[in-house]
Amino acid sequence: MNEIKSISHYSDKTARLVISNGLIAAKAQPGQFVIIKFSEQGQRIPFAIIRADAANDEIDVIIHRGDGLDEILNKLKESDVLPDLLGPLGMPAVVESDKTVIFCGDGAGFVPLLPLMDAYREKGCRIYALMSELSSKLQCLLGDINHNCDGMTVIDEASLPGTMRQWIEQYDPDKIILSGPTMMMKELAGIAKEKGVSADCVLNMLMIDGIGICGVCRVMVGGRQQQTCVDGPVFNAWEVDFDYILNRQRSFI
């Protein structure tokens, strides 16, 4: 258990790990995540479960450099056994069927959208992907996203809001799903709300335990305090207080 079955280095920034863990593979649902410790004394880091394959007892996660993970990524090799892997954590996302959905991600933020795209796809939804140039540099994602989409566009970060407005007119979506930097989600959630399009966001918060004890990932949603690890990570983007998150995120340096 917890053995790394394979590592695909998509780029010098990003790698996909296939990890053996039958228990998590059997239980994982789209939107859920795992907490990994790469070394006995390492940090506990949350990762979205990108794929869960119960038949082969394996799950995939995508790790992205720049979160202090450089060193870990350099050392990691196949057949290594992770000391700790806990999951699946969080609430499964509610996936609707037969809808038109725009997925919008910025940077590594697109990663947690992949399993949701798969899930919506399976339910017969029409899927459009809008991503920033930063995301597109993660070559791995492009392939995964492309094969799942009815349409895909890559633009620079600054143009995301403008294009989103345009797409809302063009595709008349039932839902928008956002993931990326808090500022970007705040802006796009605002547009969705203004246009009356229901929107979800996948929050990427720091966590320690992942089971609702430390309070690090607390957020305000619809005026109520929620914990991303237990009540999320997918929340109604209309209701999330992004300013609150922006302010809290500054404490972690």
Binding site: G42, D209, I211, C214, R250
Partner: protein, 503 residues
Amino acid sequence: MKEELQEIFTRGRDEEWRVDLRQSVKPTVRTSIPRVRMPELPPDFRITNSREVCEGLSVEQAVLEATRCLDCVNPGCVKGCPVHNDIPGFIKNIERRDFREASRVLRRTTVLPAVCGRVCPQEKQCEAGCTYLKMGKSAVSIGALERFTADLNRTIDRMVHDSMADDEAVHPLYPIKVAVVGSGPSGLAFAGDMARRGYKVTVFEALSQFGGVLKYGIPEFCLPSKIVDREINRLRDMGVNFIKDCLIGRTLSYGDLEKLGYKGIYIATGAGKPRYMDIPGENLPGVMTANEYLMRLNLLEPSVFGANGVALTGKRVAVIGGGNTAIDAARCAVRTGAEETYIVYRRSMDEMPARREEIRHAREEGIRFMTLHNPVRYLPDSKGFLHAMRLEKMELGEPDESGRRSPVPIPGEFVEVPVDIVVVSIGYYPNPPISIPDMEIGKGGKVEVDSETLRSTKAAVYAGGDIVRGPATVILAMGDGRKAADSMAKAFENAFSRISLDY
């Protein structure tokens, strides 16, 4: 106290050696001995590291302290102990230097003596019932003696490699599997008792280390993690199986446990969900929960401060609350380099729920107590970081339902104190067990159980410790574990007795 227990104690007291021992030293001589002083690291040294502050008694200190005990006919200490340890029984064995037997006596009623000797609030429990108090003298240092017994025997065990002493040998009687959810004190106590009875016990823990609050809550300098590890290894020796990184309700469901053949489940998931005061500024960067703070320090490498990226060199830290967790957090702050550390508490010193010893240690380490103050708002600087706390001055009013005089704000009296970090430690809610069907969850997320048997509204599922009580103490949680083991075992045995092979 149970009658059978009372009987064992009385029989023990009437044994010949014990009668002789009682008569060998006159009571006036016994009472003339002053209470032992626990050797402690000096404050200015201990704040530079995470070494255990109390160093433990030497053999001669322990024997002398044991001599103080008058071996009362009707011992008040036993009544004050939530698990009714045979306190005179183990202490008299120390006096006659049979330390092995002292340990055996303790282990009849407790599985974690090394832990309880360190973290129990003895002054409110066993020591509060000591006859010496009636004479206006200091109580026998029961906690120190309990710790001494556990520590010494652990050392002996290591030396002679017989960690499985005779009395610990397990006779597998029933090939029945029981599951324990949570590896804190309550789960460990339950596991130990069930293993001793011959059941096959598996403990499931969500985090990466076993021990629950003993590991991530109580700091290294109060309870070294190696002590907890040894207690856990002792349980392993008894055949208890431990599984980490397994969140019951997510990784495995309660239904899975049933399918895997577990015939009984003990839920001991604790109370670690932090409470907030819901005052303005509580979510500013710089304000954190005690759990966040202590876990950052304890969860990864408990013997090294700062390994998890928290360094407070030169900072001002205020901890809100007056419980043991608050004092622990403040003492951690001192050790991680805080320049000034405050405890902000809304009542007075007398009402403070923390152990007296902890309060004394905190004072010695330079922590300042701002009692009768209550935060009303945290203020940001121009960049949005925590900058100061606004405290309201309080006075004591009428006693509330807890029996303590309640704090009442003095109108218009506020003070502003500049501060860099605030640690909120004002209590916890139970960690709700995730997705267990047909179980009644009561007020504030507590699991509803029958108070006699600790059985929940779901058959074969028992619960105890903080998940039932709300935040309480290690010893009460342990007591629940033993109680639940007792009633679960009786339920099984009752079922067996009805099996007939007469067909």
